[in-house]
């Protein structure tokens, strides 16, 4: 099952496999900036999630859509803030630096999730897999097949993943600012009577 994607500028539909082990990555088919916004929204809207509108809920929705078990991890990654690791056993790890605060950790995880949904992970990810395995001893190097690191934004895929993270944060923030849905009909009527703003 692939996530909904908008058509690339050349008019060709990207054929992204459901299986991350066999996904092919063609960097030349990246969409241009003007279309990234729509592309990001299309991907976010295709994921099934809802109240209480948390990042973890969205990650679970992506995992269900891609048939992947997605975990979040924290470790000391040095000067790199985050990594995406994909293993042979259909597991993905969104790794963030252990010195990151909760908002930073969420942002890094969202960035790595952006790499995952676009299939940006490669066999080296900027670091040899054995080096990654030394950073994450709980994951066997034999199992690691793909990785992507969060570095600078001169790379279009990094820039797109970062835009995805900002957009996802804005959507989550927008939803969380809304009042929770009324649990009962009585609660809805109470709001309608006592508060014009929330009705």
């Amino acid at each position: 099952m692939a996530l909904n994607r908008s058509r690339p500028p050349d008019g060709q539909t990207r054929n992204v496999s459901d299986n991350p082990e066999t996904t092919t990555h063609n960097r030349s088919q990246l969409v241009v900036d003007g279309q990234q916004h729509d592309d990001v929204d299309a991907i976010i809207n295709s994921v099934t999630w809802g109240y209480p509108w948390t990042l973890d809920g969205f990650i679970a929705g992506v995992g269900a859509k891609l048939d992947l078990q997605i975990n979040r991890m924290a470790t000391d990654l040095g000067s790199v803030s985050g990594y995406l690791l994909v293993t042979r056993r259909r597991k993905a790890y969104l790794v963030h630096h252990s010195d990151a605060s909760a908002p930073e950790a969420n942002h890094i995880a969202a960035h790595e999730l952006g790499h995952l949904v676009w299939g940006d992970a490669t066999t080296d990810g900027g670091l040899p897999l054995d080096a990654l395995q030394s950073l994450l001893p709980s994951i066997s190097a034999d199992n690691l097949i793909q990785a992507a690191g969060r570095t600078c934004y001169d790379d279009p895929s990094e820039r797109r993943a970062e835009l995805f993270a900002y957009r996802l944060h804005a959507i989550i923030d927008h939803h969380q600012r809304q009042l929770p849905p009324p649990p009962t009909d009585t609660d809805r009527r109470l709001r309608a009577t006592f508060s014009s703003r929330w009705s």
């Binding site: 010195d99 990151a100 909760a102 934004y153 508060s195 929330w198």
Partner: protein
């Protein structure tokens, strides 16, 4: 006179609350809300009618002396009916609400007619009966209203502000029940002593004014509290945004690669200016975090250990001490990075970040670090970010600390001027 002023004040507050509800641009015509508004108007006018000055005005106008009192009683009963109707449309079964409201309407009409007729007969006994009917009916209505609200406010899932609104309204209804009991007791006492109550006691006026005011606050709490909280948050965001900007400028000047330049404005999709500032604040927090992480290998561990030992002598404790040490580390790494030094092999282990749950909280923390970084003479001895007029000399940080002596948690205008 004071009690009358309080009564009029409660009347004005309640009328304003009712008008606010009607004039609100989000107003929608719902039966429950309309009955609530009508009940508030009746309550406000009842309280104004009961005041001593209203009676004096009626006498001066050669009206019957008991007219304001009777008018107040009728209005109080109408207010009670409106609240019971509000309850029926808000928490009761919708299909039964109209029928129940009609039945209550017949009941209140009968009560008003009986009370007024008995009051106008002139007999002492009928006059006392006429005075007993309104408090009894009002007590029944408000007790029912309070019971309905208490039951609903206990339901799980009710929002905190909504619950607060319901609790305040319930207290108002209970106060009104207290007023009714007080009134009924006065009538009984008057009957026992064979006298007639013609004037509203001051305590009763005060209780009624309090109940009406609490009702006005409680029923509008859920409307204006979110707006007040939003405005307060907007101010906090603006302050944090201003506070974080200097640190962001310094760090992104050193590490421009962390900045996501030319971000499409519509990527965040916010049309509210406050949200736009918050989104910019969030991006700055993320970029500062990235820059700090990239500069971390340049931190000399000796600087950290040195500043950890001297913060006490600088009279810095707790949050100030932590932010001061982090500012010192940052100054050290910036200085080494600026000099083109190689990253240190033995870098510091990752330091767990303070438990910031939001970007705003983290921005306030970072603003403190920026304040130390750009204002502390001790830290400026390590790294001087802006030196257009005075080239900085960078002596060994230990010597400079010794030369500066002690250091306060805030820095004087002279220090700020030196930076600029």
């Amino acid at each position: 006179m004071t009690v009358s002023i309080l009564g009029y004040l409660a009347c004005v507050v309640t009328l304003v609350a009712a008008a606010t509800r009607v004039l609100d641009r989000h107003y929608t015509h719902r039966a429950g809300r309309q009955y609530l508004t009508a009940g508030q108007v009746c309550s406000a006018l009842a309280v104004a009618s009961w005041t001593h000055d209203s009676r004096r005005v009626a006498i001066q106008l050669h009206w019957p002396a008991r007219l304001p009192f009777l008018t107040g009683n009728v209005l109080a009963m109408l207010a009670g009916f409106c609240l019971v109707a509000t309850l029926a449309y808000t928490v009761g079964r919708t299909d039964h609400a109209a029928r129940r409201t009609a039945a209550h309407g017949a009941g209140v009409a009968a009560c008003c007619a009986t009370s007024t007729t008995l009051a106008l007969t002139g007999s002492t006994i009928t006059g006392l009966l006429a005075q007993m009917i309104p408090p009894c009916y009002v007590a029944w209505c408000y007790a029912r209203f309070a019971a309905g609200l208490i039951a609903r406010s206990r339901e799980p899932g009710t929002h905190l502000i909504m619950r607060l609104s319901l609790h305040t309204t319930t207290i108002s209804a209970c106060t009104r029940v207290g007023w009714a009991i007080c009134q009924g007791s006065l009538v009984v006492i008057a009957a026992l002593h064979d006298t007639t109550i013609t004037a509203e006691p001051k305590v009763s006026e005060l209780v009624a004014a309090t109940a009406v005011s609490l009702g006005a606050i409680g029923t509008t709490l859920a409307t204006w509290t979110p707006r007040v909280l939003a405005n307060l948050e907007k101010r906090r965001i603006s302050r944090a945004y201003r506070g974080i900007q200097p640190l962001w400028a310094v760090l992104t000047a050193a590490r421009p690669d962390v900045v996501l330049a030319d971000r499409p404005d519509h990527i965040l999709g916010q049309d509210n200016s406050s949200d736009a500032v918050l989104d910019q604040l969030y991006q700055m927090v993320i970029e500062i975090g990235d820059a700090r992480r990239k500069l971390r290998p340049y931190i000399d561990p000796a600087v950290t250990s040195h500043f950890e030992t001297i913060v006490t002598s600088l009279h810095l404790f707790g949050r100030s001490a932590a932010t001061f040490i982090q500012a010192a580390e940052l100054a050290c790494s910036l200085a080494r990075h600026q000099e083109g030094a190689e990253p240190l092999v033995h870098r510091l282990p990752a330091r767990p970040s303070p438990n910031h749950t939001s970007a705003l909280a983290q921005a306030r923390w970072l603003a403190r670090i920026g304040h130390h970084l750009l204002n502390s003479p001790t830290i400026l001895a390590l790294y001087r970010p802006v030196t257009p007029t005075r080239p900085s000399s960078s002596p060994a940080f230990g010597d400079q600390v010794a030369a500066n002596g002690t250091e306060g948690s805030t820095y004087g205008p002279d220090e700020s001027a030196r930076i600029r």
